[in-house]
Symmetry: C2
Subunit: 326 residues, 2 copies
């Protein structure tokens, strides 16, 4: 574990313990089977980044109520719901080193437990008593499902542009990070300036996070990932490292990459070749650079806030995005 | 078309036109593909019973605002979302005489458009500005998903009791009908008595509706149904006609029924035999009788309201439940 991660975890440890307790306490299903399936995805080592972000953003706005930690789990339920549905859609096999839910309980139960978690997220959001917050949470789900559909509909399409890629990752990832920060600021009844500043932080953290995630698929191995390396490519998902490399490569190397990408049963050697080509044509560096820019925008958005332990943690979280290995 | 149906449609025709327009207007997706898939399930001849119920219940409480018709579509979106997911789960082939969505667009897109519609329903419910209403709508989804999971987990289990059957249909169907009436009364800021009376009407209408639906599967043919007759049995769903007949049949006929039910690839002749056995052992009559009782409870719940055109329609709707052929 690197120093930054140790420092962050030391500072948020109590928050994480509280969030964990709330996640257990509010699941509240009528059926044991629902608890079992939801528990499989919820309590398998998730980072709790989204609820943590919400709790920290509320603290940035001097929130004085006692609903922040309860409300924060709304976003983890939402996240878990989309993981259940997405793993099924992507025909994934592993998540955090464990077999995915649909491989254990089947597609039907997995879809329905996902629906239950979506609904549970909204019920908990309704507990804030704040209509604007509920609209943010419902809007997150609208965007995430459409982001996934968009990505799916362009599967394997080598002409996917960087602009379209950004639109996809904004919807499927950044909107949830932004929503965590925005709804926290709304919960704390913060000024319009603070709401916007924290939303900017969240959105850019989310973009950086997803770009880093897309990078990791080409720089990490199965063991560190807890899922198969090269999964994106196997699923026909073109991400920024590939889009950028295709853009700058000459005809010959572009054709070599295209051949590998078009073959869904590419070998380990093919994948190694592709990684070398991404490196050679700057796809990895370009993505790292873009992620770094978003981290900077995120950190700049915090400048109007008085320096505090919490601003320190949010800055560290932004930096940590770039250091993740899995 | 029978007289009752003609009379109801004559009285609610304008409402249905308005509801249809709202359904089109508020779908509002970013992607054409989402509009296409959602449109396939939304605009294929649904009865609009749930939004209509909401609009009528609001009228019963002298609602004076202008959001009832917009809000009413929230429940149709919710209903459509569950149809998309349920058809996939049940591996259905036809819905209202058309191929089901997942057979055209695949499982992934169908799951995600369902998620989008769930979220859209909550966004539109949030437009009421009423937290209690949002909790009702989110609660409906929690219950419906759990009702489906419950039914699924008892698939093909001949020991399913009437009590458990009632719990399943309460969650998967009646809660939505009840929620339509309850949320309408909340929207109209009605008294606690009126809220409860209309909720009782809705819940019992829903129970009767589902029992009639389960009956139709044994009394109608594929053409009238717009889907395969005997679908429930083929999916291993034990409904009241079967549960009641198994209860009263002697050992020999119970075993004959059990043999047919346990064989997922039963023939048309088997199905005819089963129908005769259901008839002989009073399964159909028992179900009709129970449905009739719920219709009566529903109508009785309306007695405290002053007689009006609207109470007349709600009474007719309750009666019509028992006359449906598809």
């Amino acid at each position: 574990m690197n120093d930054l991660k140790t420092r962050i975890l030391g500072l948020v440890n109590e928050d994480l313990v509280d969030i964990e307790a709330e996640l257990e306490h509010h699941l509240n299903p009528h059926l044991d089977l629902v608890r079992e399936v939801a528990g499989h995805i919820l309590f398998s080592g998730g980072k709790r980044l989204r609820p943590l972000l919400l709790v920290l953003a509320a603290r940035m706005c001097n929130y004085r109520g006692d609903y922040d930690k309860t409300f924060s789990i709304s976003l983890e339920y939402l996240h878990a719901a989309t993981l259940l549905h997405d793993d099924l859609i992507d025909e994934a096999e592993l998540r955090r080193g464990l077999p995915v839910a649909h491989s254990i309980w089947g597609n039907a139960t997995t879809i329905l437990v996902g629906d239950f978690l979506l609904a549970r997220a909204l019920t908990i959001a309704a507990g804030t008593g704040n209509i604007e917050i509920i609209k943010v949470v419902a809007g997150i789900t609208e965007n995430m499902s459409q982001g996934e559909i968009h990505q799916l509909s362009r599967k394997g399409d080598l002409s996917l542009s960087e602009t379209e890629y950004r639109e996809v990752i904004w919807r499927k990832t950044a909107v949830l990070f932004e929503g965590a920060c925005r709804s926290a600021a709304l919960l704390a009844d913060a000024s319009a300036e603070r709401i916007e500043a924290l939303s900017t932080y969240g959105a850019n953290l989310g973009l950086a996070f997803q770009m880093a995630d897309d990078l990791i698929d080409y720089t990490s191995d199965t063991k560190a990932l807890g899922k198969k390396a090269g999964a994106d490519l196997r699923e026909g998902k073109l991400t920024l490292p590939v889009i950028a490399a295709l853009q700058t490569a000459g005809d010959q190397d572009r054709e070599r990459m295209a051949t590998i990408i078009r073959n869904p049963s590419f070998t380990i050697d093919d994948f190694e070749t592709l990684k070398q080509l991404l490196e050679r044509h700057g796809g990895l560096a370009y993505t790292r650079d873009k992620a770094r820019q978003h981290v900077q925008i995120a950190k700049d958005a915090l400048l109007p806030f008085e320096p505090s332990v919490t601003t320190g943690i949010l800055n560290d979280l932004a930096d940590f995005t770039l250091q993740r290995r899995a």
